[in-house]
Amino acid sequence: MERREQYDPEDIESLLTERSFDELLSEERAFVLRHLSGRDEYEQMRALLHHVRPDERGRPTIEPEDRVRSNVLAAFRAQQQPQWRVWLNSVAVWLAPRDASAFWRPALAFGSLALLIVAGFVAVRQFGNETSVADLAELKEVPAHEKNENSPAPPAELEQMDTVGSLVIMHAEGSRAAASVSERPTEFLSAEVGPAREEFHLDLDEKKDAPQFDPSATADAVMMDKENGTGATTKYEVNGSLSSAPPVSDTAPVPTGHVVTQEELMRNQSVANVAETAKVSPTRKRAAQAEKVADDGASASRSLGQDPALMGLIYAGW
């Protein structure tokens, strides 16, 4: 019957440690002889093994230097240091270097940063101006029904009062394209026009003989009736005087004292500079009212320049 081997070759260390060759059992001796040449080799290995361990005890101990401990502890502290502090330290060293010759780096960096800020500011401002110009150009678009390509050149000077809610004073002198436009709210206009209205009312009779405003040089309240194609001229007069006009207010109905014709509006290209709310809506209202007045057959109509009340008011305002 074949006996199962009790030891592995790797376990020979335990045999070497515990027993000499003569003390081995028959099975153990057979196992040893299977891996070793004989008794001598076994004893040599046993002697070596027994000698190695005591020899290690007698070895001189090596003490590490103190610098090793301090270095590794310093490395540990550096590792535990917060990273933001490390980053801050590097920034501080960069901003305030010990060597004076190294200051050119932060100086160059900050100079470049300042230049970029200034350039960005200028660019933003430039962009903002372009935007406003675009807005104004958009407002300059005149509705198609108000366009009159056959209208003559605008007069040298035109002062127009908007009885609805705004006073528009436009100057167009010769080739100068500049136009100053002011818009005043209704309340302001009412407060300003009030005294002027009374003054005009008092001076109305006295100035009947005064030189009248040249109708040909001013807006003549003439609108060409192009729809019928006859070219007939229809004059729209201002009915009543300012003294009889209702007080100007936001809620008050549009007075019929003065009607601004489309031709006036066509002549004044600067009307586009006025705010849209103050420009388009009253213009359309006036056009509608003018048509209504025309239908009524205003035989007693007068030209705008011949209206002393209006001219007095314009003079007072001017």
């Binding site: 592995d8 070759p9 790797e10 376990d11 020979i12 260390e13 335990s14 070497l16 440690t17 515990e18 891996h35 070793l36 080799e41 004893e43 040599q44 290995m45 046993r46 002697a47 070596l48 093994l49 027994h50 000698h51 190695v52 361990r53 005591p54 020899d55 290690e56 007698g58 070895r59 001189p60 101990t61 090596i62 003490e63 590490p64 230097e65 090793v68 401990r69 270095n71 590794v72 502890l73 490395a75 540990f76 502290r77 590792q79 535990q80």
Partner: protein
Amino acid sequence: MALFGTEYGKLSDERLMELVVRGDEKAFAALYDRYHRRLLSYFHRMLWSDKEKAQDFLQDLFTKLATRPQSYDPSRPFQTWLFSVANNMCKNAYRHEAVVKEAAVHLRNGVDRVEATDGVGVDHERFRDRLDEELDKLDPDHKATFVMRFHEDMAIKEIAAAFACSEGTVKSRLFYTLKKLAERMKEFDPNALIPHGTARAIRP
């Protein structure tokens, strides 16, 4: 729980490593104090008895531990993991040496020696030098296994864990290393060096 200075010595290696990962400097210092001599001796034996190189390697090892404590695998015993790292460092050192054995012979002349005071001391010193010389000629894995087993007195299981191999492989390496050393050191009379009655129980 507050940890006082006296308690660090009672904590296990693994518990100390947990504290090290959390940034406890005292735990790190305790681990250093616990292992620095053994590791220095290991490096000294593995690196051709070069004391300066051993100190540098010791510093590098603990610097790695300080900078990357998360690399420690908590599932493994700390001692095993630490010696496996040390063994890998020694392997790298062997690779970087152009002529390892020549360097070993060269360094052999400058080995730090302890002056013997009597005849027995002289014999032990000669045996020690010869053993180191023969160990340097061995394969690095066999040498490291031998050093861990007989110099650091590590268990077979711990060595196997350090090398990430089976216990049978460790035993086989030890057997053939002993057999080779016994053959090469025939001129020594081992029987004269055997301290009588010094046989002791070995760790399994």
